[in-house]
Symmetry: C2
Subunit: 357 residues, 2 copies
Amino acid sequence: MSNNYTSNLHIEKAKTSKINTVDFDNLTFGRTFTDHMFICDFVDGKWQQPKIMPYQAMTMDPSARVFHYGQAVFEGMKAYKDDKGDVFLFRPDQNFKRINKSCARLAMPEFPENYFFEGLTTLVNLDRDWVKPGMGNSLYLRPFAIAIDSAIAAAPSDSYRFMIICSPAKAYYKGTVKVLIAEEFSRSANGGVGFAKAAGNYAAQFYPTSLAQKKGYQQVIWTDADTHTFLEEAGTMNVFFRINDTLITAPISDRILDGVTRKSLIQLAEDNDIPIEVRQIKVSEIVEASKNGTLQEIFGAGTAAVISPIEGFEYKDTYYNLPQIEDHSYSSILKNKMMSIQHNLSEDKNEWRYEVK
Amino acid sequence: MSNNYTSNLHIEKAKTSKINTVDFDNLTFGRTFTDHMFICDFVDGKWQQPKIMPYQAMTMDPSARVFHYGQAVFEGMKAYKDDKGDVFLFRPDQNFKRINKSCARLAMPEFPENYFFEGLTTLVNLDRDWVKPGMGNSLYLRPFAIAIDSAIAAAPSDSYRFMIICSPAKAYYKGTVKVLIAEEFSRSANGGVGFAKAAGNYAAQFYPTSLAQKKGYQQVIWTDADTHTFLEEAGTMNVFFRINDTLITAPISDRILDGVTRKSLIQLAEDNDIPIEVRQIKVSEIVEASKNGTLQEIFGAGTAAVISPIEGFEYKDTYYNLPQIEDHSYSSILKNKMMSIQHNLSEDKNEWRYEVK
Ligand SMILES: Cc1ncc(COP(=O)(O)O)c(C=O)c1O
Ligand SMILES: Cc1ncc(COP(=O)(O)O)c(C=O)c1O
């Protein structure tokens, strides 16, 4: 990506920290923000001076294009602290590449690599005290970019804003997760924007998910829009299925997000001799496997929860329960391995950790 | 829709008008706004007091959900002035129903009918001088609703903002329009949000449209995502095809917006003995018709341009030119009939005009 931007990050520190007002034992995901934020505007065809400043509200014209045409993309990543106080990101290069892929698909300008990394690491360093040690604790980082041009013509904006905001997060335990397999609604189309972290993809899932929730399911597993026969991904997670001893996950496509957790789990499975197949998987295959007792596990994989084991699923008005193999499950084995790497508790032979100094 | 809201519209008038600073002969679509705007927030489970106030920027938290998840819908409608100075809307009930349909699909609360109509008519009345008489002049009205909750969890917002802003518009002439028929990219999926005016639908079209523009086409005509064989709609227009003397347009579905212009043109065709068929139409059918000389016209239909005649189309690397029948074309006949009704120049037997008093 374009590297002809020289670094000139401007830093304005917060006069006081809010950290003492925060109850770190009772955090609601995504509602508390740290003392600083990163901001950089794209105006007149180029990215302007990047800045770190006290976290604050901003002024927007009602005609800002993001409000009207959803020209907005985002990323989700985390910083972890080990017991010595060292702070690490996990594969931030992947998030950087992905946000620029999302930008390209949404006709937004790509963000310069050095601005991204300098902004991100300087910001996390400044708000380092907000990263709490301990398994499951993290600082959730939200890079995002929005169209800010004050004009309501349905065309790409001339100006954009790239920001990073940070929110402390606890271990993410949602209770038991039951899922509904989509038969009518769909998440994305071939030739669409499903592979991008485009803002509009998420709002589109809220209503079908709320219907599933009314039926007692926490999540929807999306299927292909044409036939609803192939399993794709969950709301903000890729999905893995274990039949007998083999783990299976769908290949990425233009409908499916190329999850960092997903690709890391595939690698970890390979590293640990867990048989893993990346291939299309039919709903009928898991229904059959459930009936004949070979379906061992289903789990979601994403930055928020790392791995979220699924207890059962509904498909065409029938509920299928999964066996309880929590202790020696692939989900618990892989989750421990992932989290140990993230929290600097184990060897990192794939070089995924990225220290924030 | 819910009518248990009693009207208590609060009005704060602008101290001075900007109208004299505006060059009405040189307007860029969607960049100039009138003196006032309408605003109403949804907080604590209900719509709060609706307000009209001077047009102004607003303060938003960087974590506002609209920036992250595209939970936003909009409408587009116009006010017209006749030579006596009377001002009319065109079928505003249709836009009202449609924005609430869009809201429901995006898991947003529906807006009360009396707030919508009182807000809209009071606003247009206040900014009445901004509606210029003369064929093709109008005041473009943009109702929209956005998720304003300051929280980045991927779930529906608790709070929302409904607004109406107004922008004076000139007759919309884009020059000749050539279109590219989509073979790879797509606009929406079965079971998706294509039928809604969801913000994210528009950003998703910008990149494929920019590729078409690089090839010399102004618009893309979208086809079904599965097979790319059925013609659906253009970026912000429904599409009509005339083969011999019959006009054909695709039926609405969950992929296609139920356009007010489209449904009005269907009615006008019926009223004027123009043979009209609402049915699926294959790309191969228009290619064939173009080859054998029976394809007479293609035109887009939408609030912005009313009717936008199309000069030719590309499909699978072949360009098909359309005959030039501008004067006695269906597009010019129907456009005149529509605009005469909109500008109060002809009888309105379907009762589409809605006077703003
Ligand atoms: C649609 C979707 N799928 C999958 C994922 C998981 O991706 P990652 O592992 O990179 O967080 C996410 C979350 O970011 C997502 O939004
Ligand atoms: C996707 C889409 N199709 C069609 C239309 C035309 O609809 P209407 O005639 O109501 O303006 C619009 C514009 O509003 C649109 O956004």
